[in-house]
């Protein structure tokens, strides 16, 4: 590090700060860390932060009272990245309900209605309306295109003047303040001339840091760490274009693991590549749990077939605002775990297009399924990967050129730096599913500091009173609950019918607020 580099910049964490659970201005002064006041800071800067800021701005909170601390340049940056690498192109349709609109807190007009209004033909106008009217019985669910959602987010983020509230940098930790509220430590960019760390002093903190990280299946992890050709084992949520590139140059077999939506997208890409480029790719799909048909008790029965559990969205719809949400609200401890289990494991939507493509692949014999547990992966000859699969009483050996892990395993929240610090120093604890324990209001339990409150939303709070927290709807539910809780404390106005109508009209006319 050069003398002019980061180490030379003023204001860094001291051992005393790192060790102490509760901080004072004096302690920060001793470390030369400047203090900046902001009544509320949102940490993360992705869609979780955006939805809360959107709600609060609509509730009348001025931009000067809100700060978003983030390394991201736009709130949809992480979302766009994850969708792109998991094989969703801009024109592709997401797995998201038409009235699930992160750019519009009311969910009205839905994306289907907006698509109809924007259409330039009668057919284009009627098709989405007919589909949304007859879904999901006579037609498939209407889901928005990725580009439609991102365009709408961009429009809304300008409308609420979101960029004015963003402070660039990486949050290192949040600690309680001796006189109430919190200090949030932001590490500024290396190129910045500001102090290395800035402490944001706020009464309220909102935490929406997204997924703690990708996690590979244990056998894949071992292979990646030990094998020479580790790039042949990839996670579907990381860039893996090289797999498709290499398959175009040399035919090979791809082993797909997992049976959720991402597996469907990867299979679609592999099939399209094969069809469009005349390839000879073969696919071996490994199912840990093979769903042969509809399953579950009479009143909790999910469709299934060909190995997949079929479900329109990430969760059964009623978790976001129906009887399943009510039921989740009443569960604690072991009962909560059982309730989440009853919602079923991985699922994918039943789409005719995918069914047809997989049906053809099966008929032509280049798509095969194996049901079992992969015990180990070994490097084989000619850059192949050899998998030992335990199937019933026997062990099967399968060879592949590439393995794509679509299981979507997530790291423990303890591996996320800010969350780990919160668990260690601020009293936060884990919920029955091991994530951050939050109240129904999304306040992080046991972290209250004087009159200050710390909230969290998104993936870190999975396992709480609302299932499906890492979805557009889940983020909006959390945002409204937090806004209502803040309104009770006088931070903002509660969103009543009149204000809601007035603000909706401003949304509809794209009036900057």
């Amino acid at each position: 590090m050069s003398p002019a580099g980061p180490a030379a910049r003023a204001g860094d964490l001291t051992q005393a700060l790192i060790d102490r659970d509760v901080w004072s201005e004096e302690l920060l002064g001793q470390a030369d860390i400047p203090i900046v006041d902001s009544p509320l800071v949102s940490v993360g800067g992705g869609l979780g932060s955006f939805t809360l800021i959107d709600h609060l701005r609509i509730c009348g909170v001025p931009t000067g009272s809100l700060r978003v601390l983030t390394p991201l340049t736009t709130p949809w940056e992480s979302f766009a990245y994850l969708t792109r690498v998991s094989q969703v192109a801009a024109r592709d349709r997401l797995r998201s309900d038409s009235s699930s609109c992160p750019d519009n807190i009311w969910g009205f007009p839905s994306y289907a209605l907006r698509e109809a209004i924007a259409a330039d033909s009668v057919r284009g106008f009627l098709a989405p309306l007919w589909k949304v009217m007859t879904e999901p019985v006579f037609s498939e669910h209407v889901t928005p295109r990725l580009s439609q959602v991102i365009d709408a987010l961009a429009r809304e983020h300008f409308r609420i003047r979101y960029p004015e509230m963003v402070v660039g940098g990486q949050v290192r930790m949040i600690r309680r303040r001796a006189d109430g509220g919190y200090f949030t430590i932001l590490t500024t960019a290396e190129t910045s001339t500001a102090a290395r760390r800035i402490a944001f002093r706020s009464g309220y903190v909102h935490l929406a840091v997204g997924y703690a990280g990708l996690k590979f299946l244990p056998d894949l992890q071992i292979y990646r760490e030990t094998a020479r050709n580790a790039s042949r084992v990839v996670n579907a949520y990381e860039p893996h274009e090289h797999v498709y590139d290499q398959l175009r140059r040399r035919p090979g077999t791809v082993m797909v693991r997992g049976s959720g939506i991402v597996a469907s997208r990867v299979l679609q890409r592999l099939i399209d590549e094969r069809n469009n480029h005349g390839l000879q790719t073969r696919v071996v799909h490994i199912f840990g749990d093979y769903v042969a048909h509809s399953h579950g008790p009479r009143f909790m029965r999910r469709h299934g077939g060909d190995g997949f559990g079929y479900q329109a969205f990430d969760e059964p719809k009623a978790v976001w605002g129906g009887q399943l949400r009510d039921r989740a609200r009443e569960t604690e401890g072991r009962e909560r775990v059982e309730f989440y289990d009853s919602l079923g494991a991985s699922s994918t939507p039943y789409r005719k297009q995918w069914q047809a493509k997989l049906g053809t692949a099966r008929q032509e014999g280049w798509y095969s399924t194996v049901v079992g547990r992969v015990e180990a992966l070994d490097p084989g000859a000619d850059d192949l990967i050899s998998a030992r699969v335990q199937t019933g009483d026997s062990v099967l050996l399968a060879e592949a050129s590439f393995v794509i892990d679509c299981t979507g395993l997530e790291s423990d929240i303890g591996e996320q730096r800010i969350l780990a610090d919160l668990l260690q120093h601020s009293g936060a604890r884990r919920n029955p599913l091991g994530r951050l324990d939050v109240e129904p209001s999304f306040e992080v339990r046991e972290t209250r500091s004087g009159k200050g409150r710390l909230y969290a939303s998104g993936a870190a709070t999975h396992g709480g009173y609302v299932p499906g927290v890492d979805t557009f709807l889940g983020l909006q539910i959390a945002a409204l609950e937090i806004a209502d809780d803040l309104a009770e404390q006088g931070f903002c106005r509660k969103l009543g019918p009149l204000r809601s109508i007035q603000q909706w009209l401003r949304w509809a006319t794209n009036t900057v607020i």
């Binding site: 009311w106 009205f108 879904e135 999901p136 059964p316 009623a318 009887q323 809601s500």
Partner: protein, 145 residues
């Protein structure tokens, strides 16, 4: 929509009562009932009242059917089509002598009222209601509790 039972009942009573009541009041004077205005109002508000009262029982049935759905949702098409049996039942009760409540009723007036009432409520519940009552969709259709 993902209704809870309480949400269904509240929607039936309050949304039909307030929105349906307003619509019925506005449309009755121009309905071709071929009845005096007073009798027209008696007919139209009897239809509305029956739609609400019988609707409470219909909702119990719908909720039972909803339990067979994995998503525990109620597709918008179901809400629209429910108007067919519900309208027929109200018509039969009012038109045949089996009903103890003697209300003058004319087919054209009845069906124009019922269909327009059903469509107005269905359209409002399909989207615009969310602007007025922002929390309703997160609470299984409940306005209270």
């Amino acid at each position: 929509m993902t209704y809870s039972l309480a949400g269904r009942l509240q929607t039936r009573i309050l949304i039909f009562g307030v929105l349906g009541g307003a619509w019925t009041a506005v449309i009755t004077p121009i309905l071709p009932t071929r009845l005096p205005l007073g009798a027209s109002f008696r007919m139209t508000f009897s239809v509305l009242l029956l739609t609400i009262v019988l609707g409470v029982f219909w909702e119990l049935g719908y909720h039972l059917l909803q339990q067979f759905r994995w998503d525990k949702d109620w597709p918008t098409m179901f809400s629209l089509l429910a108007g067919v049996p519900e309208g027929l039942l109200v018509w039969l009760l009012l038109e045949t002598d089996s009903w103890f409540w003697d209300v003058p009723v004319t087919p054209r007036g009845f069906w124009l009222l019922f269909i327009s009432l059903w469509l107005v409520v269905w359209i409002v519940l399909s989207g615009p209601i969310r602007v007025l009552l922002v929390r309703r969709r997160w609470r299984g259709g409940r306005l209270f509790g």
